[in-house]
């Protein structure tokens, strides 16, 4: 009896260090979000969570993506970050490398590694050394958004099926004032914001080349650049952009409202973006009658996915509570809210979204994947932001260069420069692969 008691005490003491911290049921659980529109889903989860942890206070701060990244960068390495790290796939490697992530509990590991629940590419993106370090939560899947009224007016019966049609339709949809000034963009091209620019340019680049600009290299963790290999196609794509930004076929202009904002205000007829646009346009442009279509086809046909991941900060004092919150966030109600309010697409396949798709059929092309429509993700690497920013600067400067019109050699030079820019950064980070 006494022996047992001593063993028990010893065991208690040994585990004290971690146990005290891990099983804490009071305190403040902090969460920072770089996508403020998902706040609502966390609030839905909070009610559920509070039943288990009435004494844990939840504090969620929302920032815009850049500010969120800056805050994380400063706080996490010093151990002052939030308890739950809501990371995008391109931020994830940085915090894994920085040893900031807690081990995923067994039940959640089982969920994440079950291909019936989460598709393998998404599991892979959070896995290192054979196990997951976070729970893939939702995806920002790319699609084509088009204004039905504008299409009707231009005599177009449906969305463009191919990349050629995409440009052709853009010309037909463009409207000009008598002075020649554009009043409506046939297509809203991503003209500013270089990292997003590379991404959107990359959407079409994938269709016409079958590859992303950055692809995983031979050795794990390395990255190769594909532009030079696909130089003709890449230069042609840049020329297509130049053709539709300058001269007679001009279909977009810097002075117009752009992106979701332009689309929601009727200043653009179509554009390539991600799932969230549906919810955004419904809220900000309720009069816009629009449709959603899969990406236009080229040599390949696929949709880009960028993943939001739930991890727990290794330095958290409320790890158990944090993981329980992550569990709550897997619930049907929360995932419904993600779809409904923020428009992002939950990754769990073992939940039922049929009711939602019936209610909002525009989600069909985003959620019911047709055969042959590849779902691809960015090769995860810690230099992602820097490469996309710098490459995007080269490409977007190319957009502005009217001398590129019908100038294949010039376009090739620009794309070669983009290639070299990417190579230089990857080499500097020691992750370049031939």
């Amino acid at each position: 009896m006494i022996k047992r008691l001593i063993y028990g005490l010893l065991a208690l003491l040994v585990s004290a260090g971690t146990a005290v911290a891990d099983t804490a049921t009071r305190g403040k659980l902090s969460i920072w979000l770089g996508y403020p529109e998902t706040l609502d889903a966390f609030k839905v989860g909070e009610q559920e969570f509070k039943k288990q942890y009435p004494n844990v206070e939840i504090e969620i701060l929302t920032f815009e993506l850049r500010e969120f990244e800056a805050k994380l960068a400063i706080a996490v390495p010093t151990g002052t970050g939030p308890d739950i790290l809501v990371l995008h796939d391109f931020l994830f490697p940085r915090y894994f490398d920085g040893d900031a992530l807690d081990t995923v509990p067994a039940d959640l590991t089982a969920t994440v590694t079950d291909p019936k629940i989460i598709d393998k590419p998404f599991t892979d993106i959070v896995s290192r050394n054979g196990k997951p370090w976070g729970v893939p939560w939702w995806t920002g899947r790319s699609a084509l958004f088009y204004n039905l009224d504008h299409f009707k007016e231009a005599g177009l019966s449906g969305p463009p099926q191919t990349v050629e049609q995409y440009w052709e339709y853009a010309e037909k949809l463009t409207r000009k004032a008598a002075s020649g000034e554009l009043t409506r963009a046939g297509v809203s091209i991503r003209l500013t914001g270089p990292s997003g620019g590379t991404q959107k340019f990359g959407y079409l680049y994938y269709q016409i080349t079958g590859e992303q600009i950055l692809e995983p290299g031979a050795k794990p963790g390395t990255v190769r650049v594909t532009i030079n290999k696909n130089l003709d196609a890449a230069a042609k794509l840049l020329l297509d952009h130049a053709t539709h930004l300058h001269g007679a076929k001009k279909s977009d202009d810097w002075a117009l409202k752009h992106d979701a904002q332009g689309f929601a205000s009727g200043a653009a007829s179509m554009f390539l973006r991600e799932a969230w646009v549906v919810a955004f346009v419904k809220k900000n442009g309720p009069d816009i009658n629009f449709g959603v279509a899969p990406m236009p086809r080229g040599k390949a046909w696929g949709a880009f996915n960028f993943i939001d991941i739930l991890s727990v900060n290794k330095g958290s004092k409320l790890k158990n509570a944090a993981w329980d919150y992550v569990r709550v966030l897997q619930g049907q109600k929360v995932l419904d809210n993600i779809l409904e309010v923020s428009g992002w697409i939950p990754l769990r396949k073992d939940r039922d979204y049929a009711a939602f798709v019936t209610k909002e059929p525009r989600y069909k092309p985003l959620m019911e994947i047709p055969a042959g429509y590849t779902q691809y993700i960015e090769a995860p690497n810690p230099a992602y932001e820097e490469v996309t920013t710098r490459v995007g600067e080269v490409i977007q400067n190319g957009f502005r260069d009217a001398s590129l019109l019908n100038n294949m050699d010039g376009a090739k030079r620009v794309m070669q420069r983009a290639h070299e820019t990417a190579v230089k950064i990857l080499k500097d980070q020691g992750i370049y692969s031939d």
């Binding site: 815009e64 993506l65 850049r66 990244e69 800056a70 960068a73 400063i74 996490v76 390495p77 940085r94 915090y95 490398d97 920085g98 040893d99 900031a100 002075s179 000034e181 003209l191 500013t192 914001g193 270089p194 990292s195 997003g196 202009d253 810097w254 002075a255 117009l256 409202k257 752009h258 992106d259 979701a260 904002q261 332009g262 200043a267 810690p382 230099a383 932001e385 820097e386 920013t389 710098r390 600067e393 502005r400 500097d428």
Partner: protein, 316 residues
Amino acid sequence: MINASAAPAAYAPTTRSTRFAAYLAGLRRQHIAWVICALGPIFLLFVLIRVYPILETIRLSFFRYHITQRNRPFIGLDNYERLLEDDAFHTALWNTIQFATLAVALTLLLAFIVALLLRSIERAAPVYELLLYVPVVTPWVPASVIWKWIFDPIYGVLNYGLSLIGVPKLAWLQDPNFIIYAIVMVSVWKLMGYFVVVYGVGLRNIPEEILEAAELDGATPWQRLRYIILPQMKPLILFTVIICTIIYFNIFTPVYVLTASAQGAPAYDLKVVISEVYQNAFVFYRMGYAGAQSVVLLLFVMSLIGLQFYLLRDRK
């Protein structure tokens, strides 16, 4: 920098042959204990809050300091070598130089002209100075919000005004050819008022008798400006040029807020040095490299100030 050479002459040592005892007595006369007690803590604060972090930044510039990585090796001058071939940084530096030159020149020239003109309408001057000072106390973020709205390519009142004289709609904040002027415009608007007041002070200190005497001697307004006012104002002009140079080389907030792109994230369509530093540090997580960029900026601005001193020094 602006150093103690401007101290009142009364404090110059009276004799060259100061002995140690006299030196001690001098210290006592100058209340050295009081100086230490009063200045010491404040100076320590400067060391803690300014000098140390700056030195630390300089030190980090010799390391490969990736913010989320534990391993932070010493790499000597590698960061500086990288700077030599970093086009983005060169663009940023060149933009900043262009921006600062234009903004300093416009701000100070306009401020000087206004201050000069106000001296001819001295009765109304306080009202004008007050109105011109309003932007100075407007914080940068709301100021940038205001101008973003004015520069809006579609609904902006600036493009509306220009359309009245037949200018087509311009993408002030999206077109790299215009954005620098847009930010110069905002900066001049924001800071001119301060320098109007400062120049006003200097101009009021010029004895009216000298000007009247010159007028009686038949000096034209231009001659009075060229030979009396400008020489008198020279030290003040030097001071304002330096202050203004520092402010404009460090420009960041308006660039950050004004160039937020459609998605909301800053597009950095106008690269300036501090936005490059910020981006490298907090977006690319390259702290050491950002440190090297700051050191270059520091050296650059310091030598510029040195040059300004040399060019505008009193040649007595």
